[in-house]
């Protein structure tokens, strides 16, 4: 990343720190594909389209304005990326072709790296899921559900027992995980991949 550029603040703007003008570029570079993030015209199509906007602390549009303003901590603390359901309504409607859903993935991984998320439910769910994949090469629904619910939502378990039994008894959830044959090959790939980053 280039040397951090900063701009001085207007008096009384309410920010104590200097603005971080590299943030937008950093997020854009770390996003798969060509993000077009810098093209945002703040029209709000994304915020209007989002099925879970009601539960977000900032709309996606507002978050992009904050990225532009260099509000790193506020952005990484936001629950917005974690509430994204990946429905891609905003993506196909965005008049500027911003890859909004992929930017949300980038912000999530940046928040995880910086340990800045507010609530660890979602990151832990993702991590548990990924741990299973890395161990077996396949997702393991029962292991995931058991480990995750016990840790995060134990109170949901009694209410869900019926459903869980239904899933198990109809063999819609397997009791044992299945494992791919070439798990070592997959592990080698992922180990190498973890040393690589997308920056430019």
């Amino acid at each position: 990343m280039a040397q951090t550029k900063t701009a001085s603040l207007t008096k009384g703007a309410g920010f104590k720190k200097q603005e971080d003008l590299t943030l937008l570029n950093e997020v854009s570079s770390a996003t798969a594909g060509v993000s077009h993030l810098e093209m945002c015209i703040q029209c709000g199509t994304c915020g209007g389209s989002c099925p879970s906007a009601a539960d977000m602390d900032h709309t996606p549009r507002a978050l992009f304005a904050m990225l532009r303003a260099g509000m790193r901590d506020e952005v990484l603390h936001s629950n917005t990326p974690w509430m994204c359901v990946s429905c891609y309504h905003c993506v196909v409607r965005c008049p500027q072709e911003v890859h909004i859903a992929d930017v949300m993935y980038t912000l999530k991984s940046m928040a995880i790296k910086a340990h800045q998320y507010k609530d660890n439910t979602a990151p832990d769910f993702s991590q548990t899921f990924v741990d299973n994949i890395e161990a077996f090469g396949r997702s393991y629904e029962l292991g995931l559900a058991g480990r995750f619910y016990l840790q995060h939502q134990p109170l949901r378990l009694p209410g869900m027992a019926g459903m869980g039994w239904g899933m198990l008894s109809s063999r819609r959830m397997n009791i044992l995980p299945s494992r791919i044959e070439q798990i070592d090959q997959l592990k080698a790939i992922l180990t190498k991949a973890k040393t690589l980053e997308l920056t430019s």
Binding site: S86, I112, I189, K192
Partner: protein, 338 residues
């Protein structure tokens, strides 16, 4: 014979067994040869992308690389699960759009002795393949037990028609491919306005109240239209709407009993397969009552809200968009309730 390289995805062996079982029946009847990707691994769903970008794409690309090695007369890779389909398509597309990503992913794949050249495969979803390759006429010709009298809410969900990098769908918001497919089976298809809305995705795991609201919207709308059942094309949609419908009911104090089944299950039924082999009985909200209608001439239910009167001002023409294959949809009108 239509040949495809087949990526089943984890759910097909678990929560979406009904999908897998009905698909194998349907494929047989439609003369489709499905060659499973050897030793395929999980696509990472929507989870791995949140954690770490390069490993997430490398995980997906391992499947692409193996599948590309299996190309034999066809380079079409078909996935029945929406999330798998999107991940495979996305990796293929972004590795080309952003060469830096492609290079890094291949660097990782090399550690496992693999390589993938973006663009080597055509990534397709099952519905796309059925509508555009097999064709509605052929499907119609295989129907021996028309689903007459069954009122269906066709529900495609998000990740099939969007973002649609390769422009395979007639529309991002209101595609009618699934509607038309259900229509040729003889069912009464409602013009379901939420056909591509979100089922809640992984929110059912991490933010249940958000998910319950999304589930409620879909189920209540289908109920409003007096649908007998909803059909889905995606294991995650089916899981959320079926398995979490009870929880959503408890949360809102509602009593919806909307059966959620895979579209292939209805195809299998219409093709004359027995209900058990078509995967019925695995759903948690029972489809028994809805199935009782098939073969029985039941009067069509009254529309939920009044139909528009024929007088007044004329409507602008509603030009249907074409399928990717350029095929025109069947001319017959789809039942519309307003």
């Amino acid at each position: 014979m239509n040949k495809y390289i087949y990526y089943p995805g984890c759910s097909m062996e678990g929560s979406a067994r009904a999908y897998a079982e009905s698909l194998s029946q349907v494929a047989k009847i439609l003369d489709m040869e499905l060659a499973t990707v050897r030793d395929w691994n999980c696509c990472g769903a929507t989870e791995y992308l949140s954690i770490n970008l390069i490993p997430a794409y490398s995980l997906i690309a391992r499947n692409l690389a193996i599948a590309a090695g299996q190309v034999n007369g066809t380079n079409e890779l078909m996935a029945p699960c929406s999330a798998c389909y999107l991940n495979l398509e996305k990796a293929d597309y972004y590795m080309a759009e952003r060469p830096a990503l492609g290079e890094k992913v291949n660097e990782a794949l090399a550690a496992g002795g693999l390589h993938y050249k973006p663009g080597s495969l055509q990534i397709r979803h099952l519905v796309d393949v059925l509508v555009n390759d097999i064709g509605l006429d052929v499907i119609k010709s295989k129907v021996v037990r028309p689903l007459t009298g069954l009122r269906i809410a066709p529900y495609l969900g998000c990740m099939v028609p969007r973002p649609d990098y390769q422009h395979r769908w007639s529309d991002h918001e209101y595609p009618l491919e699934l509607d038309d497919l259900m229509h040729v089976l003889g069912a009464e298809v409602i013009d379901f306005p939420l056909k591509t809305d979100c089922c809640g995705g992984h929110m059912s795991q991490i933010a249940p109240e958000t998910a319950y609201e999304l589930i409620r919207r879909l189920v209540s709308e289908a109920d409003e239209y007096q649908a007998d059942l909803m059909v889905t094309v995606c294991p995650m949609c089916q899981m959320n709407l079926d398995a979490y419908q009870g929880e959503a009911n408890r949360f809102f104090g509602t009593k919806y009993q909307m059966p959620i089944v895979f579209f292939t299950q209805l195809m299998a039924l219409a093709f004359g397969i027995d209900a058990k082999s078509a995967g019925f009985g695995l759903e948690l909200v029972s489809a028994k009552k809805a199935l009782a209608r098939i073969g029985v001439e039941a009067p069509a239910p009254e529309p939920a809200s009044p139909r528009r009167k024929p007088d007044g001002l004329p409507m602008p023409p509603h030009r249907r968009k074409k399928y990717a294959s350029g095929r025109e949809a069947s001319d017959e009108k789809i039942a519309v309730a307003e």
